[in-house]
Symmetry: C2
Subunit: 362 residues, 2 copies
């Protein structure tokens, strides 16, 4: 088992990474008599809910659960309300613990529910998708979507422990494994050229879910993100670098309707757009853009805009991005491969041109 | 103008108290070019929205507003969503400021919206009811109700400034002025016997809205609450004392349906129940209970349970209180008049007997 510690101002919490951790009572920070509510969804619950419930009941916890429908389109205030209702119906007090068992959507909704229920209860993440394991379960960003924008409503709220059982990836659809690899590649691109190299050598093993490489990869990603979050918990500075490709990607997700493209797929194309813009600005070479494109393609990820979307469809969505300040578009771009930065007032015609460079022309 | 500073771990913020402050640009921590969204309701907006809007426009702010229906029953996730929609439709970014113009409901909903929109934006409170001026606008508790419990969903989130224009009380229905006085009396009862004496001497002036006494009274209440909050921002200890009468009172509000009794009216009866229980335990004398009852009555507040509610109706609601820990009922009681404490595991039959003592028998 590997452990990554996330160091925050007021406290630290561990991320445990290994096989069969769902069944390991020692990784749960719970004791006999503790009340627990597991939040999961209809897809994940049949696979893992019994295992987690039994492990916790053996510890002596009182365990109940609430299941949400599966999918990004249920990342809403309505799903949040389902969790609150379940907690209230069973008289859960301020001393209860909420556990998110599932992917990024479950983690984000349950995390925001934990932040909000009685103004804050304890929270444990058990991410079961690669995306959630390397990204959304680290750093305390929780949120739900609004019809007018993704992740617009939420809180910064940290879990007390994150438990990553890498065997859960065996039940994950391949398309979602690949989508998770988009975020993995992002870490290399923005902050760690050596890791980018490592990925170029091991991407096929990761696609094939080779356990040792997977566990190293996940721990490396968690460490990179944990370091960034420790420096900048509430995203006033460095943390924004983690959003490489996300402003473009969110535009794709919003335009197509949540859930039609996977988040990682949208981010893959978004990173290509950010790379194209970085190349236009003279930061990186055409060869660097090619390396990124090739790595994404080997992970079976898209690298061009959805064919139902025109370049001019992007900007209205992008202007609602949380990084927009005083009406000015700020984007994460690449200074070099392995080093990202945030721009302050990006020219919109350049942005349009970079989007066009990643759009199929008939 | 009086100023009370609330000292928090990471920063301080001022509460300004005086006449005609709505029109005073110097009390608003805003500058030319700032974007502002005012949240108000249908009752308050016709009275004060223009005044505040003009003052801010003179500073050079871009001002928009969103109006909620008036009343506790609109303190819901749905109202929250109205605010998010308004913010998103007008492309408000993370650098915008939300202003709550209204009573406790507006302050609580807008405060929670500010805490949640893009995971937190700046927030200014302009409370226009006595209750909000002495209580809900100080201390950073924000929340909405759930059909199964009051204030169950929310956040601890502090404003950057609170602006109390005491002339707004002239337009407040007398019944609401009185309800606010319940919380005023509470401060004396729990923490400040000298202030309790002062209230016994000046309660008639307060009921009559005599400005100088009002301003002193509000500043004294804000100072008491600010001191408590500074010691205990997230209610792990002392802050719970502020809830004298509230566990009983919330049961009344939930049972009758939100908004039928005013919060202060329910708290007045709740304080009588807490006092009756304190007397049963031998803490305070019958004469002390009588002083509290007389002061509440002079403020035209109820002192006995609603006649549609039986003593046994209380406990199921009370067991969902946020102070319940591990299934044990914790209540704020009086050690002496002017000194409250939190009990750890209150016997339910004693609680029932105290409720009965404040119930009309035919």
């Amino acid at each position: 088992m590997l452990t990554v510690n996330v160091e925050l101002k007021e406290r630290r919490y561990p991320i445990y990474i290994g096989e069969n951790l769902l069944k390991d009572p020692s990784v749960y920070p719970l004791k006999s008599g503790d009340k627990v509510m597991i939040v999961s969804n209809e897809t994940i619950a049949p696979l893992y809910l019994d295992t987690v419930t039994k492990t916790l009941e053996n510890i002596g916890c009182k365990v109940s659960n609430v299941l949400l429908p599966d999918g990004e389109k249920y990342k809403t205030l309505q799903s949040l309300d389902l969790i609150f209702t379940a907690l209230l119906k069973e008289n859960h007090g301020r001393d209860t613990t909420l556990i998110a068992l599932g992917g990024g959507v479950i983690g984000d909704v349950a995390g925001y529910a934990a932040a909000s229920y009685q103004r804050g209860i304890k929270f444990i993440q058990i991410p079961t998708t690669l995306l959630a394991q390397v990204d959304s379960s680290v750093g305390g960003k929780t949120a739900v979507n609004h019809p007018l924008g993704k992740n617009m409503i939420g809180a910064f709220y940290q879990p007390i422990t994150v438990i990553v059982d890498t065997l859960t990836l065996n039940s994950l659809p391949k398309r979602e494994v690949n989508a998770g690899l988009a975020e993995v590649i992002k870490y290399g691109a923005i902050l760690d050229l050596a890791f980018f190299h490592w990925l170029e050598q091991h991407i096929d093993n990761l696609v094939a879910l080779q356990q040792a490489d997977l566990q190293y990869c996940i721990s490396r990603c968690c460490q990179i993100k944990a370091d960034v979050v420790a420096r900048d918990e509430t995203e006033k500075g460095d943390r924004a670098l983690l959003n490489l490709g996300h402003t473009f990607g969110h535009a794709i997700e919003t335009h197509l309707g949540y859930g039609n493209w996977l988040h990682g797929e949208a981010v893959a194309v978004g990173m290509m757009m950010a790379a194209a813009l970085s190349e236009q600005l003279g930061n990186i070479s055409k060869a660097d853009v090619g390396r990124l494109e090739k790595l994404l393609a080997r992970a079976n990820l898209p690298t061009i805009s959805p064919d139902t979307m025109q370049p001019e469809d992007y900007l209205p969505h992008m202007m609602r991005d949380k990084k927009v300040l005083a009406g000015k578009l700020r984007l994460v771009l690449l200074k070099t491969l392995g080093q990202a930065y945030v721009t302050t007032d990006m020219d919109k015609s350049l942005v349009l041109s970079a989007i066009s460079a990643c759009t199929q022309t008939d």
